[in-house]
């Protein structure tokens, strides 16, 4: 089913269609959010909020502006930003650091990834893992496509720099 068809069913509050949409994307959104907010519980909560928001406010998606998948991750990103806004500012740094420690992986690249700023993490995850196109990223981040290109480059360079500065990582390469 194409995005327009799926969206019509969601807009009509078709619970079966929305459940299928949820099943397809929920775990991917949660994985994305693990690197966008601090902690497993927060990622789960924000993921649930994301789908709840879409279910409750179906007029929000415009098929002319991008894909349903981009819309979904755009909402998830905004929910993550909102989550951070609700945290105590002085705790943010610590929480951000905690986010990097709570991942279940021990990959050196992922360790380096978790040391990036949140915006860079968001961008790289959506591009590399979710395979979002530049146009979709522009929709999600609400920035021009040209800015997507330059920010992706900056994010990759930042990741590469962190990777290179870690002695163990040099050896690993």
């Amino acid at each position: 089913m194409d995005d327009a068809g799926m969206w019509k069913r969601i807009s009509d509050q078709d619970a079966e269609a929305f459940e299928a949409f949820y099943r397809e994307y929920a775990s991917r959104v949660r994985a994305f959010l693990r690197h966008s907010v601090a902690g497993e519980r927060a990622a789960e909560d924000v993921m649930q909020n994301t789908f709840t928001e879409i279910w409750h406010r179906p007029p929000g998606f415009d098929t002319q502006r991008g894909t349903l998948r981009a819309y979904l991750f755009g909402i998830a990103r905004k929910q993550a930003a909102e989550w951070w806004r609700r945290q105590r500012p002085e705790e943010e740094l610590a929480l951000d650091d905690a986010a990097s420690r709570t991942t279940e992986t021990s990959s050196l690249v992922v360790d380096a990834f978790n040391r990036l700023g949140r915006e860079h993490r968001t961008l790289l995850w959506l591009r590399e893992v979710e395979g979002q196109s530049y146009k979709e990223l522009a929709t999600i981040l609400d920035i021009p496509v040209g800015t997507v290109r330059s920010r992706l480059f900056a994010a990759r360079e930042a990741l590469r720099a962190i990777w290179h500065e870690t002695p163990a990582m040099k050896g690993d390469r």
Binding site: R86, V129, R149, F153
Partner: protein, 365 residues
Amino acid sequence: MNCGEATEFVSALCDGERIPTVAAEHIGRCESCGERLRAYVAMGAELRRIASMETGAAAPQRTWKRGQHRLVLWWQKGWEGMRIPRIAFAVLIAGIIVLASTLAVVKVRARDAGTVVLLTVAAGNERSECPLSTVDKGGDSCGFVGKVEQNTLGYGIELLKRDGDKVQLGIRSVVLPATASLWSNDLTSEPQRQFWFQPGDTLKVDLPGLSPLIIKGNWLDHKPAFAGTHDMDPGPDELRFISPLLLRGKEVIGDMGGASSIVDKRNLAAWIYYPKQGSYFISLVPTKGGIKARVQLNRILFEEGGNPYVFITGAPITRSRYVWVLHQQGFDPDNLSGGDEHEFTTVTEITETPSGEWVPAPTAK
């Protein structure tokens, strides 16, 4: 082209984007740029490998119900007795309620004695609960005002008498266009229809232009302390004000025992009005001019004008650690209620400004 000029194109090439021929030629023959490209590709592959492990576990199952966020509740003490001054309170609430797209107002006092019929009333996609006491005249009626099927619906249900296992219900209803405000006399001037109802059965009450009210019910031995939610753990985006009491230092400046409002969306705020103190809007998002307040289970702590304030409620308030409290001293309910001031709590919409702050909907100001 040199490496400095080509590096950004390495990233674009990694993404399969079209790049200028001259850049592609440079990257193809430059060892440094080739190394950078391989590093980018390796980083991406590693992230995807990790992601494939992280996305393995299925998300918890959820049930999606139509309009589940629009649970509308309005329990009220004494619909029947809504004469002056109570009618003034009803006018105020009704006027506000119908102007909000989604709302939830709960007004109930727990009662220790009495046999109670708990009605569940479905109107379109809206569902509300209504406890009616057979022995307590102060708790034998309830009402609802809200948007249903693109219309404004108001109804009031009164328990008239009991005969064995049956009760006689008096029901008034009014249906207006969605944009209309509904005032309490719109409802009380409607004829009362009377129905015998046996808890356990289903009663259908026809409405002009709308699906019928579907009323079900069962007997309870008491009136529940509060409506709508019986889970102590607040849900996502939920903000509960159950019997809110407001302290300034050690002084009680507002006590609304028995009245509650429950917010379940981020674009809604709990609105609490205490006579002489003004309005308080409590939201999960930053309001323009609002004070960031700390949440401790069933308390909200904030400072205003150098004074410490605490809202104390009867249940955990929210999952969030912070909420925003917007205090508006100047709100004058006399304009709406006809001169009789009563405290109230309800739910109102808030809208986001271009600067990212939220403000109460115009009807709430």
